[in-house]
Amino acid sequence: MTSRQKTAASVANYVDERTGAAAWMKKNLTKVFPDHWSFMLGEVALYSFIILLLSGTFLSLWFDPSQREVLYQGDYQPLSGIKMSAAYASTLHISFDIRGGLLMRQIHHWAALLFMAAIVAHLLRVFFTGAFRKPREFNWIIGVGLLTLGIVEGFLGYSLPDDLLSGTGIRIAEAIIQALPVVGSYLSFFAFGGAFPGEAFIPRIFTVHVLLLPGIFLALITVHLMLVWYQKHTQYPGPGRTEKNVVGYPLMPIYMAKAGGFFFIVFGITAFLSAVASINPIWLYGPYTPGQISAGSQPDWYMGWLDGLVRMAPPIETHAFGHTISWNILIPGLIVPGILFTGMALYPFIESWLTGDKREHHLLDRPRNAPNRTALGAMSLTFILVTLLNGGNDIVATHFSLTINQIMWFSRFGILILPPIAFVITKRLCLSLQRADRDVVLHGVESGTLLRLPTGEFVEVHTPLTAEQSWTLTQHEQRPALELPEEDNHGVARGKVLRNKLRSRMSRAAVEEVTKPNSDDMKEIEGH
């Protein structure tokens, strides 16, 4: 043994004698992970979170979370001599006086945008491939929780600099709290330490932003990853891949190198974006004052859907018995988002109720083979896209020479009409794709080679698929619809008639499909 090997051995021995780690490490160093580009999306979210922790810690060394009024006398001339909060002044200080400060602010903000984008992309991947099915429902719910907290954390984060734009965002958040029936004004006064804006809010959201929420994030992410580890990753279907196995590369060395390297790539791209693309130039907005505003006030993108919903809400308030209920705020600000997120969290249970499928699933679905789910996803996405469009209606209007009124009316009707249309189109598309799969398995791929038959007829030669390709296109399971008899074994009518009818109907819709080729079909065409 060389001396270096001796040192390594004695360190390993020291640790193992005290923890027994060797057995665990031996098992897990060779742990197998399946490979697919779409499995990187969750990784991007994780790495952006680490970048956020690092850059956020840097920023907190100079940021002064206080609404104490100060007179700015720093290096940025246009704001010299203007009264502002210490929070805003210290953000200017970080941007203009600290070397690398502006870069770190940009990295922090870009990483936050990327974090949310990666979470949403990861969620879509998990949804469309059915990765949320048993046994992964817990992880789905944790994921929905992380998405929700991410939106809150991002909002609090861009509110901290106390510039004109972010203050306007807080004003809107305050109006939503205040609109809650019965307790609204009380909650608002507790949150803000009195009337809006007061001087308590920035210090309070600072604690929530840098301590409370990151703590919860760390805990949830840890559980999320431990479950992925323990339950083993899902895999896409293909030859040799079954519900019982997992096919891929071992952690050591392939994934250590790939995942470790990928962290640096994500960090590097974030740094590059921050170097060349400036976002949130708070020095241009000026300090917050409730009497001013800038045109084109826009939240960060992950809040845009909420803003769009609020913008398109019809102007309805109820005044009765000396009280006011602001439906124009409650519906878009709380009720619709509440329904959306609750529905999303419960989706795995709804689907398994409809299909009656209580088995474990480790092979992912190709989205076309679950047409109803895919169509539902497309429907939800369309809903969110309409709200996003309306959330930027002022910007869209100026860029495309439209009026705000046109976009608003388009959104008010579009939000109701377009999602169902998206559902129908997507479902038809999925069935067509299934048909195309069937076709290509049975008849092969057009080869582009024309053959002239002795009769003078021209035909195109079709190349049959390989066994591997055929298997990938036909391995999925096609289950019959749930059959819920209206009477039980003793001929007595079952209760909950309406519920069972609904369930049967939805179940029948869920299994609508193009019959996949089976081995009999294949034998038959071999004769041709």
Binding site: F264, V276, A295, P315
Partner: protein, 330 residues
């Protein structure tokens, strides 16, 4: 329908395809050089980062095509960091993809459900534990424990009570009183009707006593917009017309929807627009909502002039300003 039976057969894992570097020593050397070059480039990036940190002044601006005028310090610092990080990442991934073994491995999954015997033993152990503690029998203890735990849970909630005062009538009050002078913001100067031409807009605040200091809380409720129209343009009730003065009409600037500053005035159409959610108010008709999510007009402030000819408030606002709340009566 027996789909399962008729499935095509699984051909099993496809054969491993060798990469160039697996068999060709030249390709292997080349890949090794590429990885090493990437790691080397990363070191160059870090050097660029250090040099920029020390030698490029914070306030140096340079012209970069596409980007325009850019802060040189921030740009080169960022590019240095980006190169140093990206190249480490690219190097590691390239290493994994070209030189590390790429044989796919199969591992088996196991059902998560515990074996039946273990489940039975668990239930037995849990029951035995509960019995030993007498959870089933000692209902007095159970109930009193429930009571005390519930009460303990209240204490942290109680502790949050001092987060803020009770709202009381605070949301309905502003600093405007009968005879309060309108002063410009910024500037704090009292204004006369002659200061405003027809079509002009001005933001005003109530004049405060010398001993009072204006806070953001004041501005959040007191901000008022003055707009001067021709008197014949108004379509107001006689009462509301009496609240204007020589064509000057005053509205709360705080949006009746969600409290943003309603700051966009369109002179041609005489509309006020809130940039947050595009609620649009028609000025000649007492800021009636003609578009968008706002459900109420902007509250109008009755104004007149005092003996010295300065604009003053006839009386306080007759309704709360800003967004709605539960206790609001109209």
């Amino acid at each position: 329908m027996s789909h399962e039976v008729a499935n095509l057969s699984d051909p099993g894992l496809p054969a491993h395809v060798h990469r160039a570097a697996d068999s060709d020593p030249k390709a292997e050397k080349k890949a090794e050089r590429q990885v090493a070059t990437l790691f080397g480039l990363s070191a160059v990036g870090t050097i660029l980062f250090i040099v920029s940190y020390i030698y490029i002044p914070l306030d140096l601006f340079i012209f970069v095509p596409i980007l325009g005028s850019t802060n040189a310090h921030q740009l080169s610092l960022g590019l240095g960091l980006a190169i140093s990080l990206l190249c480490i990442g690219l190097g590691a991934v390239h290493w994994a993809k070209t030189l590390m073994p790429d044989n796919e491995v199969i591992a088996q999954r196991h059902e998560f459900r515990s074996p039946e015997s273990e489940r039975k033993e668990f239930v037995a152990a849990a029951k035995e534990g509960a019995n030993a503690a007498g959870l089933g029998r000692r209902s007095l203890i159970k109930r009193s424990l429930g009571l005390s735990l519930g009460l303990v849970g209240l204490s942290p909630l109680l502790l949050l009570r001092d987060l803020g005062p009770l709202p009381g009538k605070e949301l309905e009050k502003t600093s405007w009183k009968t005879g309060t002078r309108l002063v410009t913001d910024p500037g704090n100067r009292p204004i006369k009707p002659s200061d405003l031409e027809v079509g002009a807009v001005a933001q005003v605040l109530p004049q405060l006593n010398p001993d009072e200091e204006r806070t953001l809380n004041n501005i959040g409720k007191d901000a008022v917009l003055l707009i001067r129209l021709r008197v014949e343009d108004f379509q107001l009730s006689p009462e509301r017309l009496a609240w204007t003065h020589e064509g000057i009409i005053a509205f709360s600037k705080i949006c009746s929807h969600m409290g943003c500053a309603v700051a966009l005035y369109e002179q041609q159409t005489k509309h006020l627009l809130c940039p947050c959610h595009q609620s649009t108010f028609d000025v000649p008709r007492a800021a009636k909502v003609i578009f968008g999510p706002a459900a109420r007009p902007l509250p109008q402030l009755a104004i007149t002039v005092d003996t010295e000819g300065y604009l003053v408030a006839q009386k306080p606002f007759t309704e709360p300003v800003g967004p709605s709340f539960w206790e609001r009566s109209s």
